[in-house]
Symmetry: C2
Amino acid sequence: MNLILLAPEEIEHSRLARIHDPRRLRHLKEIHRARVGDRFTLGVEGGGIGHGELMSLSDREACFSLGALDAPPPPPLPVHLILALPRPRMLARSLEHLTALGVKQVTLLHTQRVEKSYWQSPELAPEKILAHLVLGLEQARDTVMPTVTLAKGFRPFVEEQLPALIEGRRGLLAHPGMARACPRGINEPTLLLVGPEGGFIPFEVERLLEAGCEGIHLGPRILRVETAVTALLARLF
Amino acid sequence: MNLILLAPEEIEHSRLARIHDPRRLRHLKEIHRARVGDRFTLGVEGGGIGHGELMSLSDREACFSLGALDAPPPPPLPVHLILALPRPRMLARSLEHLTALGVKQVTLLHTQRVEKSYWQSPELAPEKILAHLVLGLEQARDTVMPTVTLAKGFRPFVEEQLPALIEGRRGLLAHPGMARACPRGINEPTLLLVGPEGGFIPFEVERLLEAGCEGIHLGPRILRVETAVTALLARLF
């Protein structure tokens, strides 16, 4: 927890913050070994970042005196990530990685090789997704919550949503065996599509290329989804 | 398991391989749902890669008829990674990521902010480390085992080992706040140093810069060690 992310309702007259949730109280005590007077980095959800001093800490509440929370959060990546729904444990970690890296728009997509049971996972409950996004923001000292949407059908996604998403963005389909190596250091609005374990099937690759995506690859190594997503984002931006 | 990695003693007269370990037998049955006649990618440790056909599968043994195992493994990354020893769970995942990405030389280093207890972790047992390296190779379809060495003192490492390691390599110290952004697509022998959670202390940074390392950063976001290692490798190579 490199930043304490405050919900607007946790701030009183802009100078005082109170948090009550057991997770952060425990983290302050056990990991930070926090003491009254300690200085912390705090940020308000969707807003600025600054410092505050711990005024009190109990089993029920931590109270901070706030300085100006006026530093901007780190810049986001100019990418909308379309990710084939990974298996639940991988989803959790991938959400944390991609949030820490600065992705702000994520669509979780069904494809042929996504196991249908994944869509029933408790990890897809909005509060579970939110918890992982918060961990990613706390890690990277960011305040801007990503938006995660679910696209449970491949064909409706390609026909109804993809044309609008690719408009004004460079569409990149990351898939082993594509002709072109992943470009480096591009600085333009991007739509990045990453398949499931086992990849997109040929029919899906064809539809995505037809829709205007460029196929790119990361080399001969087959990477886990969470490794591939981090590697792609680090190389592209 | 995108590749079945064979130890030399698992191969009989170059045309037949037998494996007996429960982990891979279970994986073949439960994940691959393997059947006699199925074709698999196999490779011999430190050697070539090819295909083989499953001849029999029981609770005790899988037997493969081998084609030529003569395709080369994917190229390694030209890097020796010096990684401050992460906490055990993070170490396990980091070893898998970096092996899958093609790192072949790893030194796990003690620094001021590495908790001393981490050096007592069962995760550091050679057979545990090996297990994670094997998982990384199986993932990336590689056969060349990385070498992992332990450097339990920072000062002896800097004084006795670093001068020889940096000879003929570009030394890069990844640390927040360094002057230069991580370079992209370098293709030269590199020594990459990555600190622990909380970073190197200023004394350590000074010693490493004095020893000839260039300081580089990954931007304003603070990343977990496993995310940072993947991001650095993907951007550098």
